[in-house]
């Protein structure tokens, strides 16, 4: 068997390991092993890459310089990556994932750029006419373009999630659709030009620049609550960029791994959109309509009942079943450990405590699960929406912490509401609802929430973490 056959066999094994890794991701216990197998597959593929013919030829003709370069670069990257991953706080996971994702996209762009540069340089040196590589040209162009969109889109998503001051406000210039259309047309023209003239490094980098601008203009207008969709979509793009890079260098492990990631990102994107009852196009280009169906003053006037920690503690004392509904506010207030303390205090009194997790609560898919798991809350208690909704009528107290739109009953009752039809957690059906919130300010959708004015709702105006700590203390005294 030739050495290339062995290398290809290693790539095949790596691909199989990736598929098994995804397969094991279906359960929390097997997922750890899945992650290890994924890493093993990656190590195998990287080792095989070091034995590829161009690398070995270089080794034979000019010494170990090439492999040393690779080793130095890989060591730098691995140390930086591992440090980031170990240091970043759990509340910042969405940013971290966005950032890592962007690096992957940028790497794909650079691979395509380097391949193109080398190929044209060699053709120029040998003054041989360039072969007609339409497939190579299209794949190179797409890799460069998708990679650039991924990098800049991820960077903007990171900046928004990290709440860097300049990125706080969503960019809502009404001309943005024309700008995007213009950039889209530029992209098509450059793609066509590059297809006709595949040895032009200039056209390639032009395409990368247009992709960079487009990555920014597409993600700048997207608001915080739509971030889960954007993260999934960018994740999918980084996979597709890697797959496209596989077409450039004719390598099946890149194509397989890239398309697995692409598929995973697309599925999650679809799940997130479904959970918000919105189309992908609506999320990317719409922005939510601000035409409020109901005026905030009409909804709230005279109907808001504010309660203190002591009053709420008294309600909790008599409860036999309590459901906690976390939202992004919980992550902002870093209240996950305080919530755990409250749940412990309640359970000591014999109260059943469960958690209702909306699919788009937080800023990335599954965000709340990770936060609560960090506070040692067993995952069996984290219930999904469809699973827990029928149990709200038998729930004594539902405690909503930092969630708003995902518990807004207007989605069910008011067909003119901008969020009409969005699946929500039916907390309003619980006997008593406690809403922990700093003020009556609207959520991301910018609409008032009739839940706050409902007869069975008590508003507890305070910062999420302090509120829960006070509540636990009051419960201890009661």
């Amino acid at each position: 068997m030739s050495s290339q056959a062995w290398i290809n066999l290693a790539y095949l094994a790596a691909s199989m390991l990736f598929i098994v890794a995804f397969k094991l991701m279906t359960g929390p216990r097997t997922a750890v092993r899945g992650n290890f197998l994924g890493a093993a597959g990656m190590a195998l593929a990287l080792a095989a890459a070091c034995c590829e013919k161009p690398v070995l030829d270089r080794l034979a003709s000019a010494g170990a310089g090439g492999l040393v370069t690779v080793a130095v670069a890989a060591a730098i990257g691995a140390v930086i990556g591992a440090m980031m991953a170990l240091k970043y706080p759990m509340t910042g996971m969405p940013q971290m994932v966005a950032l890592l994702n962007g690096f992957g996209g940028a790497a794909s762009t650079l691979v395509a750029g380097a391949e193109l540069w080398n190929a044209t340089a060699v053709a120029a040196r040998d003054s041989a006419p360039l072969p007609a590589w339409t497939q190579f040209a299209i794949a190179t162009a797409l890799t460069g373009f998708i990679g650039a969109v991924t990098f800049w889109g991820s960077f903007v998503a990171f900046a928004k999630l990290e709440e860097l001051p300049r990125f706080k406000q969503a960019w809502t210039d009404p001309n943005r659709h024309w700008i995007n259309l213009g950039l889209g047309i530029c992209t098509l023209l450059l793609l066509w030009g590059f297809g006709a003239n595949p040895s032009s490094n200039l056209l390639f980098w032009g395409l990368v620049i247009v992709g960079s601008v487009l990555g920014c203009t597409l993600s700048l207008p997207i608001g915080g609550a739509d971030m889960p969709v954007v993260i999934c979509l960018l994740n999918s793009y980084s996979g597709l960029a890697a797959a496209a890079a596989g077409f450039v260098i004719d390598n099946s492990v890149l194509v397989i791994a890239g398309s697995l990631v692409g598929a995973s990102g697309l599925i999650l994107t679809a799940i997130m959109c479904q959970a918000m009852n919105r189309s992908l196009v609506g999320v990317l280009f719409g922005g939510l309509g601000t035409t409020t169906a109901a005026n905030a003053d009409d909804v709230y006037a005279g109907k808001i009942k504010s309660a203190s920690a002591e009053e709420i503690a008294m309600v909790l004392e008599g409860a036999s079943r309590v459901v906690i509904v976390p939202g992004y506010g919980l992550a902002v207030a870093q209240a996950q450990h305080a919530v755990r303390e409250l749940a412990n205090a309640l359970e000591k009194r014999g109260t059943t405590v469960e958690y209702a997790i909306h699919p788009v609560a937080g800023r990335m898919p599954g965000h709340m699960n990770v936060l609560l798991a960090e506070a040692d809350i067993p995952y069996e208690k984290l219930r999904e929406m469809d699973d827990i909704n029928p149990t709200f009528p038998e729930t004594d107290v539902a405690i909503v912490i930092g969630a708003n739109d995902v518990v807004n009953p207007a989605a069910r009752t008011d067909p003119t509401s901008p969020i009409a039809g969005m699946p929500i957690l039916d907390v309003d059906k619980a006997r008593t609802v406690v809403v922990v919130k700093r003020s009556l300010s609207p959520g991301f959708a910018g609409i008032p929430n009739p839940l706050f004015a409902a007869d069975n709702t008590l508003m507890y105006f305070a910062d999420g973490k302090k509120a829960i700590v006070d509540l636990t203390a009051a419960l201890g005294k009661a």
Partner: protein, 113 residues
């Protein structure tokens, strides 16, 4: 028969393959892998969506394979610099992705205390 480009790491057996045939071969792999991906990933429960995102993110760092081949060949100066940067970035993605996924999955484990 088309000229094989000397620097593209085309498998020796496939060197004389018509570019269109290469494209179709890779397209076949691409579509089948997409299919497998859809089948496997729809079964991942919602509570594991964050580790799934970061784990798949790490796997998208597979582009490091391409980066290593480019950087290790040191064919041209510009190509080598780009390749070097690509290896660094891809490895940040790979190492960061797997480590962070492991950190998250550890939290999902029942505590032994």
């Amino acid at each position: 028969m088309t000229l094989p480009c000397p620097l593209l790491p085309i498998a020796s057996a496939a060197s004389f393959e018509d570019p269109a045939a290469t494209f179709i071969r890779l397209l076949t792999v691409f579509l089948l892998a997409m299919w497998v991906g859809f089948e496997v990933i729809t079964k991942v429960p919602q509570r594991l969506h964050t580790p799934l995102t970061s784990g798949s993110n790490a796997i998208s760092g597979i582009t490091a394979v391409g980066a290593i081949v480019v950087a290790g060949a040191l064919a041209t100066r510009v190509g080598s610099v780009l390749g070097f940067l690509a290896v660094v970035l891809a490895m940040v993605n790979v190492a960061g992705g797997f480590v962070v996924t492991h950190r998250m999955l550890e939290m999902f484990q029942p505590k032994k205390k």
